[in-house]
Subunit: 285 residues, 2 copies
């Protein structure tokens, strides 16, 4: 999905936040912002917002010398998510429709995104968010596709979310299905890499795989051949979060996008409102 | 006051809004945003946020070919302000402390700033805002300074606000004081120039003067010698709004800053919270 002009101020704000997360040195923060501005001016070179975000966060890493500025935040989010994990399993186990409930848990995990919700009171928020129904849920299509699916790929998003995703992975793994869970190839914002997925214990529920990209979205041109093959050949693909939606909205195969709409532009593209929980099937172009 | 890194995303957002106000042509909007990004990268060249804003809006004008993109918005704000004008005079006339009330009316006019409140329901909001007290009001100092003051300069801000300022100008003109009301020299965002001040009828209450600058703040190096002399020699100066505060916070003479704090940084500088109404005396450096 193309990069919108509206993404520019938001990108600029996120870089400033990342710069301050990476280093307390105001000179470095200023240097990051100046280089980020030059990158904003190269807008036309980027295929989608996650591609520009990757370049922006590379500036943060290179100027600050900090390879993973969000490491402590990721750990904090993971620990918070592990703290509410029992609630997530109970919610899914007690539901009338366990698959819908597992999808809702995984979608709710999408609020664990510190890049958007900087000071989230997680425990207070999760129970409330779990009760909010999907604004759109293409569950009948997903259930029908699952009947014949033997191999399912789930593309993860932020770190804390991986804990929530375990509930969905367990549901998908029923009936002997193979389930692969893909994460980023390198640290980027608070997104999950293999390290965070393992810390969350995801490997007990799915085969972990790196997509290879260091962008906050699975931009296929940037992913490993192994991931691209997995993406192409899986019987069913569930893509989590806005970044993966932006990267994969134009993909050639059917994809289920599971996310909370966090900005006006993405919401509009999905005929939804900001804050809506969505499971949307796209046939593929 | 120096330009903060936090001003960058906000500046970027304002330019996008201005670009869309100036032209529906998306190619032009994109060109404006790209040139604006290059200007963001020249951050260190600008003395304060209004200086950068001036350069940004010059890009909007030059790419769109529209000399005054906010003309219709200014007219709309002025007409809305003229619509509530009777309420403003009644509020001041019925107050126990007429000077404080007149200051409060003028400060409340600061919410007529479309650059910050894009879709304001003015009529609903003004009555409520008038009742909100000042968070800080250096009224004793102002009243004491007024005793000997024969010549008062008020530096205006946005267009709709000029209608509100009439109430303050009338109060200041009591006891035969000369009152000068300065406005921008050229159109910039929704700020008042001579045209808007005359449309509001300000010339019935004060001598109008152009500061000469096309920045959204009275940056002295950018103003006419006549204005700089007026600023230096007036017995008392009241500066309205954030833009003038940013431009004049380091001025060499005492200035009363009358404003509503609209962003976190300005609020922090003034030991206030966002949304606070303030009359703050600064002695001058």
């Amino acid at each position: 999905m193309e990069l919108f002009l509206d993404c520019m101020p938001c990108m600029n704000r996120q870089v400033l936040e990342a710069a301050r997360t990476a280093t307390p040195d105001e000179e470095s923060q200023a240097r990051i912002m100046d280089r980020a501005a030059l990158t904003l001016a190269r807008r036309a070179e980027f295929s989608c917002a996650p591609a520009m975000a990757q370049a922006m966060h590379e500036i943060v890493r290179s100027v600050s010398g900090v390879a993973d500025p969000y490491q402590a935040i990721k750990r904090r989010d993971l620990d918070a998510a592990l703290g509410v994990e029992p609630l997530l399993w109970r919610f899914a186990a007690s539901a009338d429709d366990p698959l819908r409930a597992a999808l809702k848990v995984a979608a709710t995990g999408n609020v664990m995104d510190s890049a958007v919700f900087a000071d989230l009171d997680i425990t207070a928020c999760v129970a409330e968010e779990l009760e909010r129904p999907f604004a759109r849920c293409d569950l009948p299509e997903l259930a029908a596709d699952l009947v014949a699916a033997r191999h399912v790929l789930v593309i993860g998003d932020n770190s804390g979310e991986t804990v929530f995703d375990k509930v969905l992975l367990a549901a998908l793994a029923a009936e002997g299905r193979e389930v692969v869970y893909a994460v980023r190839g390198r640290p980027i914002i608070n997104d999950a890499t293999l390290a965070e997925a393992r810390y969350a214990g995801v490997d007990a529920y799915a085969t972990l795989m790196s997509s290879g990209t260091g962008a906050p979205g699975a931009i296929l041109e940037d992913c490993t051949p192994e991931f691209v093959r997995e993406f192409r050949d899986a019987d069913l693909v569930i893509s989590k979060g806005q970044g993966n939606y932006e990267a994969l909205a134009g993909a050639r195969r059917p994809v289920y996008f599971l996310l909370k709409a966090k900005c006006a532009l993405i919401a509009r593209r999905l005929d939804a409102a900001i804050g809506d929980y969505l499971l949307v099937r796209r046939d593929g172009s």
